[in-house]
């Protein structure tokens, strides 16, 4: 059994917590850079494309809304909180799917889920016909939208399947910028992606703190403990664990450059979620007999780069 205390120095990670600037740039550069997080979903998607190439598909003027919200007294949105754009990125064919975390917490409903699946399937069809088309997922989502429960959950299963089909031909890149993060079933969608990019402000996990506190008690997880939350889900920790590929600052230019580089790199030789034996043996080596405290969270996947 490995000791839990022997690797990660969480106090270092905590210093890079929410909103902290990277040590790698000067204060002047920090103040001058353009935030990616402050862009809305449509602006984020558009920013990634080569100039003048972005074209929105099934946009708000198509008015394909969720059929399930109004009957529950929830105001639907004309794009169902999901934006799809096609164009080129670094000269390569690409589709970007961006979730609007401000609408129903970015929750996956029937329409937003089917929109993502359809975009992935069309990119896959083009790729199979020799026109490789990458996909970039801008994930701001708490997972399944509970007002559409079973159709949301079904959509997530279909999204996972369609990512796996496409990533054999062209990279599928999940970007988790924040502030909502990526939780619930959509954390599996990120998990099966070719690459994951996060900011320090982004968070990634299956169950959010509130859900764990509710299901397993406050002694299991105190959802008000921000240090604990960021020490577990935050982009810096996920990067240290080798659970994501690139950690970026909250900087639009850096994010654009990173996405360009990953698309140019193409599909990885093996995807993270295919490496079952590697990760299974890491879990086997851990000792869960006592609770893991934030200061002793071992970066058990730190050897995986």
């Amino acid at each position: 059994m490995s000791s839990l205390a022997d690797v990660a120095n969480l106090s270092d990670i905590a210093k890079g917590g929410v909103g902290a600037k990277s040590a790698s740039i000067s204060t002047r550069e920090y103040l001058q850079r353009r935030s990616f997080i402050e862009l809305n979903a449509r602006e984020r998607a558009k920013a990634l494309f080569d100039s003048e190439t972005a074209r929105e598909l099934a946009g708000p003027f198509d008015r394909i809304e969720s059929p399930w919200l109004a009957i529950q007294g929830v105001t639907p949105q004309a794009d169902d909180g999901c934006i799809v754009m096609r164009g080129t990125i670094g000269g390569n064919q690409a589709v970007v799917i961006a979730f609007n975390g401000a609408f129903q917490g970015g929750g996956i409903g029937e329409v937003s889920g089917a929109k993502l699946t359809a975009a992935l399937d069309l990119a896959c069809r083009d790729s199979e016909n020799g026109k490789n088309t990458s996909a970039v997922l801008l994930l701001e989502t708490g997972g399944v939208r509970l007002q559409e429960a079973n159709l949301g959950l079904a959509a997530v299963a279909e999204i996972i399947s369609s990512i796996i089909a496409l990533r054999a031909h062209a990279p599928v890149i999940s970007v988790i910028a924040g502030p909502v993060g990526c939780f619930g079933g959509m954390s599996l969608a990120a998990g099966v992606s070719s690459y994951i990019v996060m900011t320090r402000e982004g968070r990634l996990g299956l169950n959010g703190p509130e859900v764990i506190e509710e299901e397993s008690g406050v002694e299991e997880f105190d959802a008000t403990d921000r240090t604990l939350i960021w020490s577990i889900y935050g982009g810096q920790q996920r990067y240290n664990q080798g659970l994501i590929d690139v950690l970026v600052d909250d900087d639009a230019d850096q994010t654009i450059k990173t996405v360009n580089e990953l698309i140019a790199k193409g599909v990885p030789p093996i995807n993270r979620s295919e490496q079952v034996d590697v990760y299974r043996s890491r879990i086997a080596a851990l000792d869960p007999s006592t609770q893991w405290e934030p200061e002793s969270v071992r970066s058990f996947t730190s050897h995986h780069k």
């Binding site: 079973n150 949301g152 997530v156 996972i160 089909a165 299956l206 169950n207 299991e220 299974r280 869960p288």
Partner: protein, 279 residues
């Protein structure tokens, strides 16, 4: 709701495979066996409760880190073994059968630290990879199939079969927390679910969504008779044969007759994106 979540999984695993022990090196909560379905040798997988699990939040039939990675490993074993198959009587990829009775994913701090999202993704990936490689993947829902537990174990199947009885529950979240989070009482949620099909906790309503291949009426799901077992065997064999006639993706869930009604909006958005894709 039955308090013995997970007991049906074990009962049906034993009924269909004649076995009840985990494979060497696997945790007691994951049962895997190779057994006959018709003329073929299929791999069966099931997650069951283990009150002594070393992970305290994964003792009651939840799918946690160990369960998810064990599923992934045991599925990939079948997929990776295929090229070495003897070119004998059967050259078709072996069927994989997921027996599902999972109350949820494991809700714990250790799980999140350990990256349970990747463990769950790895299991779903293995199931989907098997399906895309031509292995018929059939899911038999005998009890609960909830949320991340179901995404991890079973929802990537070519065909979904479920028992038609009140103890079968397929949903994104259990009733009480779902009501709380959407700021409703359980009574309000139940009343809404009568008209909003995707909210319903009744498996017969789930069947209306177009996702399910078949509902099976079993006389005694807790203690199956020989006829019950034979009926399930035949249904799995039929689902395998049906799978082999179709594509390896999940398009049947959009194209089924029930989906044409229940998933109109999904179909509309798919059609619109296709129209606009090359404009």
């Amino acid at each position: 709701m039955s308090k013995c979540t997970g007991t049906r999984g074990r009962v049906w695993f034993k009924a269909l495979t004649g076995q009840e022990k985990p494979m060497p090196g696997d945790p007691p909560s994951v049962l895997v066996a190779d057994a006959a379905i018709g003329e073929e040798n299929a791999r069966f997988l099931c997650v069951v409760p283990d009150p002594d699990s070393r992970f305290p939040c994964a003792r009651h039939g939840e799918v946690g880190l160990e369960q998810a990675y064990t599923l992934g490993a045991r599925i990939r074993e079948v997929v990776n073994d295929e090229p070495r198959r003897t070119s004998g009587s059967s050259s078709l990829p072996r069927p994989i059968i997921a027996i599902v009775d999972v109350k949820s994913q494991a809700y714990g701090r250790r799980e999140e630290i350990g990256g349970i999202h990747l463990a769950a993704a790895a299991a779903a990936d293995a199931y989907a990879t098997a399906r895309f490689s031509g292995h018929p993947v059939i899911t038999l829902i005998v009890g609960q199939a909830i949320s991340g537990g179901f995404l991890t174990h079973g929802y990537q199947a070519n065909r979904l079969l479920a028992f038609a009885d009140d103890n079968v529950l397929i949903h994104a979240m259990h009733k009480e927390p779902a009501a709380r989070i959407t700021r409703r009482t359980v009574a309000q949620l139940e009343s809404l679910a009568k008209t909003v099909t995707p909210l319903s906790y009744d498996v017969r309503d789930y069947a209306k969504l177009g996702l399910l291949h078949k509902l099976l009426s079993i006389s005694n799901p807790e203690n199956p008779s020989a006829d019950d077992v034979s009926l399930v065997h035949n249904a799995i064999a039929e689902a395998i044969a049906d799978t082999r006639k179709g594509p390896t993706d999940l398009r049947n869930r959009f194209e089924s007759d029930a989906a044409k009604t229940a998933r109109k909006a999904s179909r509309l958005i798919r059609a619109r994106l296709e129209e606009e894709w090359n404009q």
